[in-house]
């Protein structure tokens, strides 16, 4: 589901540090623009092909899951053979596979992802119902862990080998390796229920207490948001930190930094204006991959904190299997990653003019 973004570009950029900035006047502007447009067209075409591939994959992939949705949904209660047949007819499961596929494609192209078997609601409605919740959780966490990762990663690299760096990377690596559900449960026990003198400060789960409106509602949701976000940030920031740190370390021996210092620039200016921008490419890739992933939700954290998001919905769909629901969600998740990667691809030439030429 994740699409790794162009490692060749990243390596190329890291191995050949040079001054960034305007294209240093090589050739007329028109040629650059045309080259960029060609690059954009190539990337967009690639994305379109990927989307089509995802559309096809999502149909066949979930038909490989063993299990009969009708049998699962009618399990444990009296159902006549006629009723079972009626279910199959209703869900279109009585048709040959190729006709089911044709139906699915036809509907998907008009933006209709079908109706969930178990919830009897259009899949689009289920997605739009849970998407804001997921975005609130993963979006908040994404902003925080990206910022924290970049800031701490930069600091670590700039003062690498010092105690601060060792503590920083050590802590980040430790938290990165901690299972998120375990950390979440620990936080619930310590900060929600309270242990010894520590009082229970946060709710144990869910997104709201219910029955609130306006400002009180916002405060309530924010209150519920703290622990899951802290869990996600703790587990995720290490990745950004390490990528940023190693990219910056690669840049630090660069002659252009010595030049910058020789110009008399202050240290933090050297870092901010010269070193960090050059080291940003791998981080940008990671940031966009992460951004694409935000919509997919986080099944484990959503489960521990009972957050009503898309991850949990996907899990519920898989257990039936609720084919329209899992197909729709899979298509949606994969599309988000593809779109974000394409955006990242389109952004590279702006960050580093050597890309796309």
């Amino acid at each position: 589901m994740t699409a790794e973004a162009t490692p060749a570009l990243v390596e190329g950029a890291a191995a050949d540090p040079g001054t960034p900035g305007p294209a240093a006047g090589r050739g007329p502007r028109a040629r650059t623009a045309a080259a960029y447009l060609r690059y954009v067209a190539g990337k967009l075409a690639g994305a379109a092909v990927s989307l089509l591939a995802v559309l096809v994959t999502s149909f066949f992939l979930f038909r490989l899951i063993p299990g009969d949705p009708v049998k699962f949904m009618t399990g444990g209660r009296p159902v006549s053979a006629e009723q079972l047949a009626a279910y199959r007819r209703e869900f279109g499961l009585d048709l040959p596979l190729w006709r089911q596929f044709a139906h699915y494609c036809g509907k998907a192209l008009t933006g209709d992802l079908g109706t969930s078997y178990q919830f009897r609601t259009p899949v689009i409605d289920k997605i739009t119902e849970a998407l804001p919740n997921t975005l609130l959780l993963t979006g908040t966490a994404f902003v925080l862990y990206t910022a924290l990762g970049i800031v701490l990663g930069t600091r670590s690299a700039w003062r690498h080998g010092r105690l601060g760096d060792r503590l920083n990377t050590g802590l980040a690596l430790t938290l990165y390796s901690v299972p998120s559900f375990w950390l979440g449960l620990l936080l619930i026990i310590v900060l929600s229920v309270g242990v010894g003198p520590v009082p229970g400060l946060f709710p144990t789960g869910g997104m709201e207490s219910g029955g609130k409106e306006g400002f009180a509602y916002a405060v309530d949701v924010a209150h519920h948001l703290v622990l899951p976000v802290v869990t996600l940030v703790a587990v995720e920031y290490g990745q950004t930190l390490l990528v940023t740190r190693s990219a910056l370390l690669d840049e630090m021996g660069g002659d252009y930094l010595t030049t910058a210092r020789a110009k008399g620039l202050r240290d933090d200016q050297v870092r901010r204006r010269h070193a960090v921008p050059n080291a940003l490419l791998p981080t940008v890739t990671l940031v966009f991959v992460n951004l694409g992933r935000t919509v997919a939700g986080v099944i484990l954290v959503e489960t521990v904190f009972s957050w009503p998001g898309l991850g949990g919905l996907f899990y519920q769909g898989l257990s039936v299997p609720d084919l329209p629901l899992v197909q729709g969600l899979f298509f949606f998740f994969a599309s988000a990653v593809i779109v974000m990667n394409t955006l990242a691809d389109l952004l590279y030439p702006l960050l580093d003019p050597r890309v796309g030429r």
């Binding site: 053979a81 209703e90 009897r120 789960g205 029955g211 209150h223």
Partner: protein, 636 residues
């Protein structure tokens, strides 16, 4: 490298300092707001009291402006649909029990049938016409009278509209005609006699509301609140995977519930739900299907928490493949032929130590298996007696196998008629730790007899199960007060029409004697005589040895005694609370009065916590500043 001293220069740049300051301030603000938010929102300990008081002040809840008492229940299941015509999950159907009346209900003491919307019922002498008297003291929550016309309309809708038959269609399969000659009289004409007419678990909906629905297969009843109903509670709000809120129906004919509000809160993770109970955010945790032995042990002895253990409605069995077949006589699947010998089936079950399973696998939270129907339903419970009982006896099991001709070879392995060593494939649910644990024991016990066991633990066992591609399988069903359904799944009529079809059958049992008894009990309207027939069926099933009940797992649940003073269990003596046959538990629950004192101490705790947090933050900030100053000086 000389980079280090270079890096030291100019570290006190003003912008950088501001960023860091901002970040620290931001973090502090976040922690503070979050901490401060505690007292404002009802997530603090003694949640329901705080919430209730607030609700009372707001005047939103409780007609008479009294403090609203809220009962919060942690549930793990999400709602599939709030339409009584579509909902099949336990949570959703429980909510319908609370919000709509059914014709009949089951007594909490021993599950015998008691009046619901109907006060009386009478079959005609030819057994084909049932006349129900509908009570005249039940009103819909919008003020209109609930009548026989509503009931007739509900059943007729299910008989004529495929969409409306989705969840409960099987109840009306045998109905010929349903009419309401008067507002208090409902007449149901059957195609053939049916003893389950007092166990029609169908929510009766208000005709004047539901006749406006176009497509019953897609109407989920979750858009406009409150939902018009006539049960002990009225559905007032629902947010998917978050909560379901219900308000007490003060005009309920059996009497108003003692709590003012009932909230089902969604906890996907059972450990988190237990934490919420400990904290007091929820009043009750059911566990799905039960609290784990570890969770129960950790809650026992905790102040203000009571762990309730009652007989469950499930049985946990070992099903044997009798050779899968379809109604057209075609055989399919690949069940081991040796299992068609009754002596082999009995030998296998006699080598299963059920006491060990209860003690070691269920850690005491189960009852040793006997007949097919759990002892929770005393009317239908049957247990084998005397020498028919297949007690644990490995020596006798070995003897039976010898007699059946499956003797051990030189290696100690028993060989089949084809000369190959006996090895059985046991189908197990990968998601059920009990299956895996019992499977290990089977390997040991049957291994001792010289029989190999291959455990096939799968996430989804349906495919091999329906195809008859297994030898034995872990099986279990939840039993209703009326046992008709769990009995019907072992009749020949439940077999699939052809091998390609899916039938209602559980494990392809088809036995003439059993079928004859089934037909008799379905037409027997005398309760005692019918119970007798059902027991004969259980006896037959036991002797056949295709369905061996190993245990009846208990329901293990917990609640806060400082929030719930008393609650009706079912059966009344030492029964369970969640998922009862009826609305008894939540309708009867009495709120406790001990909230204020502990609430005070809890908010003191919050204040202390915030102060401590601020002190820690200030300390950290101080350290940070000092460290910065120090490094700056060092570097100068």
């Amino acid at each position: 490298m000389n980079t280090h001293d270079l890096h030291g220069r100019g570290r006190t740049g003003p912008r950088l300092g501001r960023t860091r300051l901002l970040a620290t301030a931001g973090a502090a603000a976040l922690v503070l707001t979050a901490g401060l938010a505690s007292p404002l929102v009802p997530a603090a300990p003694r949640a329901h009291a705080a919430e209730g008081t607030q609700a009372g002040k707001d005047g939103k809840d409780g007609k008479d402006g009294k403090d609203g008492k809220v009962l919060t229940v942690a549930v793990a299941q999400s709602v599939d649909s709030l339409s009584p015509f579509l909902a099949v999950r336990l949570l959703s159907t429980s909510i319908h029990r609370l919000t709509y009346e059914y014709l009949t209900n089951y007594d909490p003491k021993d599950a015998h049938v008691v009046p619901g919307l109907a006060t009386k019922w009478e079959p005609s002498p030819d057994k084909l016409t049932w006349t129900y008297t509908i009570r005249s003291d039940s009103k819909w929550s919008d003020g209109q009278q609930a009548t026989a016309e509503d009931a007739a309309w509900t059943f007729n809708k299910m008989m004529t509209d495929q969409g409306a038959a989705t969840a409960n269609g099987s109840f009306v399969n045998n109905f010929e005609k349903v009419t309401a000659p008067s507002p208090t009289q409902l007449v149901i004409r059957l195609k053939k006699p049916q003893a389950t007419m007092t166990a029609l678990d169908v929510p009766i909906v208000p005709k004047h509301v539901w006749e406006k629905v176009d497509d019953f297969s897609e109407f989920n009843n979750d858009k406009s609140f409150p939902v018009v109903g006539n049960g002990p509670f009225v559905l007032t709000a629902y947010k998917p995977d978050s909560y379901v809120r219900l308000k007490a129906n003060k005009d309920f004919w059996r009497g108003a519930p003692k709590f003012d509000e009932l909230v089902f809160r969604y906890y996907k993770d059972q450990d988190a739900a237990v934490a919420a109970l400990r904290k007091g955010e929820v009043s009750f945790v059911a566990g799905s299907p039960a609290l784990t032995p570890a969770q129960a042990a950790s809650l026992k002895g905790e102040k203000d928490i009571r762990v309730n253990e009652g007989p469950g409605r499930r049985f946990y069995a070992l099903a044997t493949n009798p050779g899968a077949q379809a109604r057209n006589g075609k055989k399919f699947g690949d069940g081991h032929p040796s299992l068609l010998d009754e002596r082999v089936r009995h030998a296998l079950f006699m080598a299963v130590d059920r006491k060990t399973i209860v003690d070691k696998v269920f850690q005491g939270h189960a009852v040793e298996g006997q007949g097919y129907i759990p002892p929770r339903y005393p009317t239908y419970f049957w247990e084998p007696s005397g020498n028919r009982r297949l007690a644990y006896d490995p020596a006798k099991a070995a003897e039976l196998l010898d007699r059946a001709g499956y003797r051990a070879n030189a290696d100690g392995k028993r060989v089949g008629k084809d000369g190959k060593p006996l090895n059985y494939r046991v189908l197990c649910h990968a998601t059920d730790p009990n299956d895996k644990a019992v499977g290990k024991y089977l390997q040991e016990w049957w291994g001792g007899l010289g029989i190999g066991v291959t455990l096939d633990c799968l996430d989804n066992v349906t495919d091999p199960w329906l195809a008859g591609k297994y030898d034995l399988a872990f099986d279990g069903w939840s039993v209703n007060p009326d046992p008709d359904f769990v009995l019907s799944i072992h009749t020949c009529a439940a077999l699939p029409a052809t091998p390609k079809d899916t039938g209602a059958t559980d494990n392809f049992i088809c036995d003439k004697t059993y079928d004859e008894l089934y037909a008799k009990q379905l037409a027997e309207y005398d309760p005692a005589e019918r119970a007798n027939l059902v027991k004969q069926m259980e006896s037959r099933l036991y002797d056949l040895g295709y369905m061996n009940v190993m245990a009846y797992p208990n329901a293990v649940e917990a609640y806060r005694t400082d929030q719930i003073e008393s609650i009706t269990t079912m059966p009344a003596e030492a029964g369970n609370i969640y998922g009862q046959d009826g609305y008894w538990s939540w309708w009867s629950a009495v709120p406790a009065d001990s909230d204020d004192s502990s609430g005070g101490s809890a908010s003191t705790g919050v204040v202390i916590g915030i102060v401590a947090g601020v002190v820690v933050l200030a300390g950290l900030a101080g350290l940070f500043a000092m460290r910065r100053r120090a490094t700056a000086e060092d570097r100068e």
